[in-house]
Symmetry: C2
Subunit: 659 residues, 2 copies
């Protein structure tokens, strides 16, 4: 705790007292302001709360009064929570968790609702449902290299899945997966016009999900980079138009797409060119030591526009339904090049002008700045220093770089402002380093608490970053917040980078659920979210009026060959019908439409003991199908507080026993 120390300047603080007291005379703080402590003046308030003078500035830079909106929204991955976080900046308030890879009952996401169950089923692996994900990297859709606020894509490292979330309603619309690969890490990253969403594998395995002994690792295990084709008009990835490139069994890590001058290329790190595969109970080294032997790994440079031509020309092999450009073809046709990069790198980040590729070697002390122009020239001239064991041409390290910045131990990930500065997280040193892109010199280091992972700057991955705010995504919180048991939150630290000089720490924010690995920050006014679904009866996945949409007076119950169909409406504060009579063993199909068209007038629908909960936002249509396999009396009711008579918004499912 900072102890306030009286000094000469306190005289000026004392002048605030009458001002603050006058301001809180009004009492009711309606639309805008808020009240002061009735018991004292500003100075005593600072003393009572242990605030330093510098804290006052930080408080004013982050405090967001009632009704005032945040300037930016940050989309952070939820790690192994499987959900996506939406965070307001500078208030650092979490505004929403969006269910993506994990069923989420508050949103009625895959907890009975047929449409969203189908979305989650899109990510089934080997025919089976996976009910969690390890979300790593969110990528906002781009137009011309700038975030356009329409979609966001996220990857699931554990199960090699990619999801599409629509930002008109913040709903997960699609999950795709290919059993070509068994895990990913470099996902999702988009090309500058969102033609493709990139997913690269992390842990090598036989392509397509087959078995091979681990001793045949070098020969039969492979990595791959999948280029998922995005159809912006439909708001969907088109798996049939997607394709992949086979890669050596190194652990491919993060990716980034070229932009402007480097548009048409993509870049990926790798961290285990040693091809270690563990075996610590069988006499081999653990992966952590096996993969850290060499001083260099391989930066993967992919000419994806040339690859796209090869795909069109049919130069692919199809594996588990995915068109794959083989290593041999990729190497021979000038699609894939390697450049040595120091040591076990993590982040690979293209500068806003598209000219440089910044790589942080996590067991190194440098941010290495590769030059796209040099790489392209060497590739074009076929000036190689050799080939890797799989025939991939290797470019000379020194001839490929513009230089290196001496950063500190453990550089991980780099973001940019609009003023020529780069910001690199330094894990082992636990700082953010601000450095000049022009002369590759560090100008300031700011301590982070603790163990910083990625960074997120305002519009930081675009061709025109805003600067202003930077978030340090710290992996450990330790003593930063009140103790809540052995499992602790992460700590997002908000940093002011608006000035030309030093960075300033503004705020600590605990992440209460999930472990974000990466985030992107967009100007809030670029997001055009709808207030309700229209027309009444809209299916939130198709965004069309559902065939079973039900309007007032159309409610009915019909017995058909496939079971009992109930066309139901929800409106404050009743469901119609509120009595459903079925026989034990019958299949029941509920078609429920909210006929509300008012902002925030959401209803829920819970059916006790049947494991069903829906969120029915205004105008939304939901379907549920279940077998009434338990005789008895089952209340259903609205789970989202809607009105003074919300508790009375209920009905009964009556399941008569078989005679």
């Amino acid at each position: 705790m900072t102890v306030f120390r009286p000094r000469a300047t306190l005289a000026s603080l004392a002048l605030w007292a009458p001002l603050a007291l006058a301001a809180c005379g009004g009492g009711t703080a309606g639309g805008g302001g808020a009240g002061a402590t009735p018991s004292g003046d500003i100075l005593s308030l600072m003393q009572a709360r242990g605030l330093s003078e510098a804290d006052v500035s930080a408080a004013l830079m982050t405090y967001t009064p009632t009704g005032k909106h945040d300037e930016y929204l940050t989309f952070a991955s939820g790690g192994h929570g499987g959900q996506l976080l939406v965070i307001g900046v500078p208030s650092m308030r979490i505004i929403k968790y969006v269910g993506v890879f994990t069923p989420e009952p508050w949103q009625g996401y895959a907890t009975g609702d047929v449409a969203t169950e189908r979305v989650l089923d899109g990510g089934n692996r080997f025919g089976k449902r996976v009910e969690w994900g390890d979300m790593h990297h969110p990528a906002l859709s781009e137009t011309g290299g700038d975030y356009d606020g329409q979609f966001i894509f996220v990857g699931d490292k554990a199960n090699a899945r990619v999801a599409v979330v629509g930002l008109s309603d913040f709903m997960t619309r699609q999950i795709v997966t290919s059993e070509l690969i068994q895990s990913d890490h470099g996902a999702a990253f988009v090309t500058p016009n969102t033609d493709y969403v990139i997913e690269t594998s992390q842990y090598p395995a036989p392509l397509g999900g087959g078995y091979a002994p681990i001793e045949e690792f070098n020969e039969k295990y492979r990595g791959a980079a999948i280029f998922w084709k995005f159809d912006r008009q439909r708001g969907r990835i088109d798996p049939t138009a997607s394709w992949a490139i086979e890669l050596p069994p190194y652990m491919q890590d993060l990716a980034d797409a070229g932009k402007l001058v480097s548009d048409g290329w993509a870049f990926m790190n790798s961290v285990n060119s040693e091809r270690s595969y563990g075996g610590n109970l069988e006499g081999r080294p653990s992966l952590e030591s096996g993969a850290s032997q060499g001083d260099m790994d391989y930066l993967h440079c992919i000419n994806w526009r040339k690859a796209e031509e090869l795909v069109k020309a049919g130069r692919t092999t199809t594996i588990v339904g995915m068109k794959v450009i083989s290593l041999e073809v990729a190497a021979a046709e000038g699609v894939l090049f390697f450049v040595p990069e120091p040591k076990s790198p993590h982040g690979v980040d293209i500068t806003p002008d598209g000219k440089d590729i910044v790589v942080g070697g996590k067991l190194d002390t440098h941010a290495t700045v590769f030059s796209f122009e040099k790489i392209a020239a060497l590739a074009s001239a076929k000036k190689f220093v050799g080939k890797d064991p799989y025939g991939v041409p290797i470019l000379d390290f020194k001839e490929s770089i513009r230089g290196q910045c001496e950063i500190g131990l453990g550089p991980l990930h780099t973001q940019f402002d609009g003023n020529g500065f780069a910001y690199t997280s330094v894990f082992i040193e636990s700082v953010v380093a601000k450095w000049s892109l022009k002369d590759l010199k560090v100008v300031h280091k700011l301590p982070m608490h603790y163990n910083i992972g990625h960074l997120c700057a305002a519009e930081g991955d675009t061709v025109s970053p805003d600067g202003k705010y930077l978030i340090g995504m710290n992996k450990w919180a330790m003593d930063r917040f009140s103790p809540v048991g052995p499992l602790l939150p992460q700590n997002f630290q908000l940093i002011d980078i608006s000035g030309a000089g030093d960075m300033n720490l503004l705020y600590d924010m605990p992440i209460p659920l999930g472990e974000p690995h990466y985030a992107q920050m967009i100007k809030a006014d670029k997001i055009k979210a709808i207030e309700y679904y229209t027309p009444v009866g809209t299916n939130p996945i198709t965004h069309e009026k559902d065939p079973n949409a039900t309007l007032a007076k159309q409610e009915r119950i019909e017995r058909r060959a496939d079971g009992v169909h109930v066309w139901m409406t929800a409106v404050r504060s009743h469901f119609t019908p509120d009595t459903i009579r079925v026989k034990e063993g019958e299949t029941v199909h509920l078609h429920i439409t909210s006929v509300e068209q008012a902002f925030d007038a959401t209803h829920g629908f819970a059916l006790g003991s049947y494991d069903i909960n829906l969120s029915i936002e205004p105008g939304r249509h939901c379907d549920v199908t279940f077998v009434a396999d338990r005789a008895g009396v089952f209340p259903y009711y609205c789970t989202e507080f809607c009105s003074a008579l919300h508790l009375e918004m209920a009905g009964y499912l009556l399941v008569e026993p078989k005679s």
Copy 2:
């Protein structure tokens, strides 16, 4: 947005400029403070951010610098998200979501981990898993009527379940359910020494889960109040020592336990003494109108200590394993009394001195203050004005009350400070009313945005409330935050109630996941959370060393009759073993112990495509059992960032195909 208007007092603000600029000269904001905007002074900062002078006070009352802890922790229910929120006050940062009724992969809660899967299975209904819950009312454990910081109990309205969460490690230890009832609402509430956890049903149904036609509602449908016996020593509810009281088919609502003078009694509202049961497609009124016909419902007064004697004396009937005191016995033996209460009430709240029972009639304009002394005297003298249709004696309304406070339209729920004031949320008027318990007069109303539900005051349900902070739990957020689609957060508004006069609004906080219905706020230093599990190999549910705990050098793989057993350790940054070879179809038992004993050094364990993720906090032991039914190569890895070589903390499950 508040527009800053220059006025005479700005001269005093200007004096801050050099002070603030001096404060931020240091640059690196390490342990305590934070920097100011480099571009200007405090005044220009206020102008730039549109802050009023009053906002400055609010900012300073809520701003919590890096590393400083919150004074209070608020535990809020997560509604139909099924999770429990832990919120710091006054910073209004969510520090943790605790998985309770819904599987949660970040915590490894019921996503493969055998111990927590069993906890969730404790809440199975009719033999089937329910994977979500509608959490309504958290109740902190009490000793002598004060929160003791040891446990918290929560109810699941949809599936009539109650959970026990331990506050040493913030883990859900137990879920209990009785098929006696089909839903609850008045859950959980504790008696002053946590002898019992109270759960009352909401929607009447035949007791025990049987079927009866809805036309036999009056005769065969019933409510019930379950008194779950808590064994503090074991930290578990003991179902065999628990019992229930049969209640009429009114919709019992919230409950509260008497304290001090009223200790030994419990009080519950009801909202449908009309016994309406819907049927709007069958010619009957919807519940919302049917249940709102009468002007009075029944406050249920239960002498639970007398009921406990009846249970010991064997005066119960056993239904689906639950000992039940019948309505007839309860009415005849002086256990159950009714007092009329106006109209469709919601909150029933005992004053800190235990003398009064405050009821908010949600379709009324009063907070009605019942006197325990008067009720007990009338009950003792058997002075009844009649009986309800089920034979329950009714006391006279006017003779039972101390008075009524004219509050406004739609009073819902009441909290207390330590200075003789009550605070009632008023839903339809959308305000908080502060009123004097002594003379029953409103002294101030503060507008809420929007549709306020419950209130939560610092230590507000104890015998010694702290005052200071009050949270308005607003149901709708509307325009308060950046738009995030049709489904919006709730809005918790933090209110300063430290003064003798008006309340002051301090802060708006979005709830990003789930819909809290109630919360309790405890002094943070009462919580004694552990930093890691000790000894190494502790099972977090039993809190004992697990029989399969594995230390370094004890790692091994054995084939047994029931499958392949793998005793594994996790430590930065490898699993041992990191190669597991099995045959397709074999059952695999993983026994994984984290041998870490360092704060925050948590590991995860993900097995791709097998739908398994664990959280292995330092010292924790986890078990997983699965059938290796898919041949192939499946990476497993650490999902919780642990070190610079976290990505390399991985291994392979090799599933050889059947020959």
